[in-house]
């Protein structure tokens, strides 16, 4: 009987903990969004966040996108050649990058680079009492630390996604024209003709959602970190895991919303 009860108790505890965390994250998100719209506004913090999340992520986003676009072109060429449809490479590279790979890979790169950095920074601030110091200096930590980062991510990650999409398509273009014998002018024309505005818009919306997820997870786990170096490490790890899983789940939901008709 005890053997039966103990596993159930463990499942119950985990379920309760998960539900409590979901509730806390929801309240945290509501708090973060509320603070974005309520003064005072910390412009300098916002600009720093724009720089860190956007500008400084460009190299990693660019590298990821160009290699992915190139690999995509090779895979599509190889796959489509089995039924003599090699000509679809520009179209599939474009749609694959813009609709799926661009936003998802940029989201995951932002989760790796930005979420971890935000979580580690805020967690360190917490264990060194800097968060308490903010409060005693009449500055709300959510307003000063979370709101600028979340707003910056919501605004700048779509730009990163747009850049990633273009670089990814360019990666495909380089491989297709340099290695697979495609005509450059035809490749560009086919890409441009095939892509629709809704593809680009859905890509940017996904970017904004993934940016928001990445920043919120970083801030949430940072603010709720445990003590000491272990607490900071745990917060950083959990934030990246949560952000990556939520980005992939949100991608599925958004793809279902935009394209499942």
């Amino acid at each position: 009987m005890m053997l039966l009860i103990h596993p159930l108790a463990a499942i119950g505890r985990r379920t309760l903990a998960l539900l409590a965390m979901l509730g806390n994250v929801t309240l945290f998100v509501i708090g973060a969004i509320t603070h974005i719209f309520r003064p005072p506004f910390y412009g300098r913090e916002f600009l720093n966040a724009l720089l860190n999340i956007g500008w400084l992520s460009l190299p990693v986003v660019g590298m990821t996108a160009i290699f992915t676009g190139g690999a995509l072109a090779l895979q599509i060429y190889d796959g489509s050649s089995r039924f003599s449809a090699e000509a679809v490479v520009p179209q599939i590279v474009a749609i694959g990058m813009v609709r799926e790979l661009g936003p998802v890979l940029v989201g995951l790169m932002v989760a790796a680079r930005v979420t971890s950095s935000i979580a580690a920074e805020i967690a360190t601030m917490k264990v060194t009492e800097q968060i308490d110091a903010l409060t005693t200096l009449s500055t709300h930590p959510m307003k000063y630390l979370t709101a600028p980062r979340v707003l910056a991510a919501l605004l700048v990650v779509p730009v990163l996604v747009g850049v990633g999409d273009i670089i990814g398509i360019y990666g495909g273009f380089l491989v297709a024209t340099g290695q697979l014998g495609f005509n450059p002018a035809n490749y560009i024309r086919n890409t441009a003709d095939f892509l629709e505005a809704s593809d680009v818009i859905s890509s940017l919306i996904k970017g904004s959602a993934f940016g928001g997820i990445a920043a919120v997870m970083g801030c949430y786990f940072g603010m709720n970190s445990g003590r000491g170096a272990q607490g900071v490490g745990q917060a950083t790890k959990s934030s990246v895991q949560a952000a990556a899983v939520l980005i992939l789940a949100a991608n599925f939901l958004l793809t279902s919303l935009f394209f499942a008709s």
Partner: protein, 248 residues
């Protein structure tokens, strides 16, 4: 000025404060002593609202500390944290002038910088440290910067959390003297938590000993050595023998 009335606080099954009653008169310097983990920092953080007590009341100037305008309430306080708690991403002067660069006490940037440099001078630091980052300073200098930040907005009440922890005896003496001078000069009400008896003697007007979640003894610092309280006597003497259990 600050009154604790039957304040309780637990963390899970651990009861840290079990009914703290204490009165800190205006313009005096109260030092709370006690062993590690006895709840000194918790008591201090309860006043500032960083931790919410489970029960009991904390009054500041006769008003419940949890009621009213939070910003106006906190604007009356300055605090020196144990590790300094300086913001790594800001320069020294921006740390000191943090409160003067934003919120209700906001001043023009050049004015805030001048005040910051003046406060740095007051704690014995030269203006050339103003543009350094906290990581470029020694522990003692960081403490001084923390002290300058605590007094930058000329608060009525200043809290000092373990002000001499991690400092050598000479630097500890310097910080103790600074605290005493500044508190007297500003006429501020001070609450310090420490287990450094040299600090106690240098800073305190009154002393309270927190043990087992309650105030075991309180009185003027001049009566501390002759109190006859076995807990206080053991703590002052640093003896392993006495009513306070020493974990070996």
């Amino acid at each position: 000025m600050i009154t604790f009335q039957d304040v309780h606080k637990s963390f899970g099954p651990k009861k840290v404060l079990r009914g703290v009653n204490l009165d800190i008169p205006k313009g005096t310097s109260m030092v709370i002593i006690g062993g590690s983990g006895t709840g000194k920092s918790v008591a201090l953080k309860c006043v500032l609202g960083l931790i919410t007590p489970d029960s009991g009341t904390i009054m500041v100037d006769g008003k419940d500390a949890t009621q009213g305008d939070r910003d106006a309430f906190l604007a009356r306080f300055g605090m020196l944290f144990q590790g300094g708690a300086l913001f790594d991403s800001l320069t020294v002067w921006q740390n000191v002038a943090f409160r003067l660069l934003r919120g209700s006490l906001k001043r023009p940037k050049h004015e805030a910088r001048e005040i910051a440099i003046e406060k740095l001078r007051r704690v014995g630091l030269t203006p050339d440290v103003a543009d350094l980052f906290p990581s470029e300073l020694s522990g003692g200098m960081q403490k001084r910067v923390g002290l300058a930040r605590a007094i930058a907005a000329e608060p009525e009440i200043i809290f000092f959390d373990e002000p001499t922890t991690g400092l050598d005896p000479i630097m500890s003496g310097v910080i103790n003297d600074l605290i005493r001078e500044i508190v007297v000069e500003m006429g501020a009400t001070a609450m310090t938590i420490t287990h450094d008896m040299t600090s106690v003697r240098a800073i305190a007007d009154n002393v309270a000993m927190l043990h087992d979640g309650v105030i075991q003894w309180t009185g003027p610092v001049s009566e501390m050595d002759s109190s006859g309280d076995p807990y206080l006597t053991q703590f002052i003497s640093g003896s392993a023998d006495g009513p306070i259990e020493a974990v070996r």
